[in-house]
Symmetry: D2
Subunit: 241 residues, 4 copies
């Protein structure tokens, strides 16, 4: 009964081509690991990367995408502004967006938030525990009380974003910080999930619980078919004045 969801997994795909520690963990790119998992979860998956023409995000690809998964880091400035505009329009119109790790500093996410999206951070391969604060949420389906990652980059508060619609996860880090690691937002008709973990030199996207969260979030963020089409602009009165 449920229609197939079209997911596009976008990856900057630079670290995995030229930075040894990332190459070892994700030899074919982060997008391939995530995409392969999602393909097994009743999802119709496309991948796209920065250095493809139009970053792999042609009108044809964007228009059929129900949910866009985004990973980016050092080359965020190279993403074309006109394509960011198109993505933004699609999200306001109902396309879902899953913002992974350092994509929380991407152009598209900053444009959606209206803030700096600044964080503090540390690369020390420290332990992270992602605690679940919404035990009744579709995004946390199938999880225990927390997800433990043995070695991750630390992200710390203050994370300069608006208060989320829902705070679903908060991370504990060995070095003394905490971070709001799973948050939902709505912008226009688009649903957004921000999910913190996923450093390029940690094997995080091989973790089955992390992959489960991403899959859950894609199902959650898919546009509701047949919802209201808002009318904007000059209108006549409903009632006689």
């Amino acid at each position: 009964m449920e229609a197939t969801i079209n997911v596009t997994v976008w990856n900057e795909f630079r670290h995995e081509l030229n930075y040894e520690p990332a190459m070892k963990i994700y030899p074919q790119g982060i997008h391939r690991v995530i995409g392969d998992y999602l393909s097994k979860q009743r999802l119709n998956v496309t991948t796209a990367t920065l250095d493809e023409p139009e970053h792999g995000l042609t009108d044809e690809v964007l228009n059929r995408t129900d949910v866009l998964v985004w990973w980016g880091h050092i080359a965020g400035d190279e993403v074309r502004d006109d394509i960011v505009e198109k993505i933004h329009d699609r999200i306001l119109g109902g396309m879902g967006l899953i913002v992974l790790h350092s994509a929380s500093q991407s152009k598209i996410f900053k444009k959606l938030m209206g803030t700096s999206c600044n964080i503090k951070w540390r690369e020390a391969n420290e332990k992270e525990r992602i605690w679940i604060l919404q035990p009744n949420h579709p995004i946390t389906e199938g999880l225990g009380e927390y997800i433990e990652l043995a070695e991750e980059e630390m992200y710390g508060e203050f994370f300069d974003v608006p208060a989320p619609d829902e705070l679903i996860m908060v991370s504990w880090f060995q070095g003394g910080e905490i971070f709001r690691s799973g948050m939902t937002y709505t912008r226009g008709k688009g649903k957004i999930f921000v999910f913190r973990p996923g450093h390029e030199t940690s094997p995080t996207y091989h973790n089955q619980e992390i992959l489960k969260v991403i899959s859950n979030s894609v199902h959650w963020a898919a546009p509701v078919k047949g919802t209201t089409v808002p009318v904007f602009g000059n209108v006549k009165p409903l009632e006689k004045l």
Copy 2:
């Protein structure tokens, strides 16, 4: 793939037995009209009423209920406190609750909100327009910009409830008031939807859009299977101190 949802439609069922205007519109009771519709929406429906033993809400019924739909009005005080406690426990454990019209002054809803739940009101068969503020929400699937009801009781703000998780609908009334008519709350693991319309002498529950909202909300409020079971009480450290 989706499991069947067990819905129990509870109705006070007094007006329809002894108050002519209600008898004419709902000769077999509000619960039957709502229950019949939900039965056609892939839902497994039970009905229960105040004057049945244990108000029709035996442990057996409550324990298998995924979502409880509640309509009550003048006899709210007759609902047994011990049964209210059981319902409350079930909601915190994950059972959904749909609060219809005057059930917003019921014992169970007040207990969940922690406030007086007071409103202002007027019976003048005036026009109501229920505007949709969340065009991307599963509860508003299939609707237009607003639902119009030709004749309804007015409910007006200030409605003394906590700020909702989501404000989904606001009503306009001919006589000059507005009301937050569709709101969601979470209490424990339970999802709650409060839906304003449904006066006993208006044919509101024969309106297909109103019924659609109720059905949508039941699907939305059904407990997510397999979510986190929180651990409470005294615990050992995760980390060595």
Copy 3:
């Protein structure tokens, strides 16, 4: 004990110079009427308009402004992008912003929201009632249950903005629509209040209750002195790893 708050009232100031109906109601400009009132409320007021050099918003003016009040309409596109950037930076750093009427379609507000900020509207001089939903809020201090305006432009939902931090007011319009008319947001350290009424050909800013709300909101939005200065970027661990 309370420090003086520096308010800058910014106005596009075009209608009042060349459109007769606006000239009659606000012969010296909307900014003068609002500014004169605020000057009497323990506030230190500056005014600024679009056609002044740098729109009257030099670095010197912006840097000393605690709260910026903004009215704009037809010439919103003429506001320089570099000045919008400066305003944005100041808001994230703690400056308050009061967004009046059609300023809800201004560059700065769209940038802060990340959405289209689209609305529906109608110029029919119809009655508006602004209902108070937060009777305990500093912004509604001194008001009754609602504010009535005999003749205003209609704004209708869906208003394409993120869910607010607080929904304080909802308007009822004679012609059948409703609108979220008083909302607060936080972006970075900046507090924002969006206040719907104020059409250029309605005498709204001569209404004492409307002026009271603006004054209340300025006091509310003023930056809290001495709050946390967040640290961003690469940091050392607090704990020994």
Copy 4:
């Protein structure tokens, strides 16, 4: 210009009378340490304890209290239900409430929340860091990025409460858990602040930053004078139907 705020600091006051570790730290009771500090912050302070007649909360005391500060633990069940009702009524009418540490399991707080308010916990004198997530909030005025407590009881999520109006602080604990430690709620016209730290055998209420937060929160929670008095019940139409 600001009116004096009347604060009542209520304490169970049992541990400090018969449990040596608590007696040593708070020989005259937690209420005296907090009360003495608040007296120096332009506040008019009364103290009250469980074993006084009517728990020290006579109608006369309650009716003049603007903000009630509450500390309770093992004897929460001994608080009289009729007095809890009176406190509840006063909060809905606008009295502020500051909920300290284990008072998050008190009758009054559970009644306001509508949930179990369950937590996990551990007494191991471990390190706590309370991170500030709202650097622009009056409650965090004067603080740095976090408050550090060398030895505290641990409280861990899942904390079974509704989503707060504002999440202001999140604690990191040495043993691996996190907790939402500073949260605001509104119930009726009453403002509520829940503040986690304050175990009876830790010197937490001698910490100047903790005391500063309590004082800030009392100023924040004081009722706004002159706000709207909602009208409830049957009303006439504003407009001619």
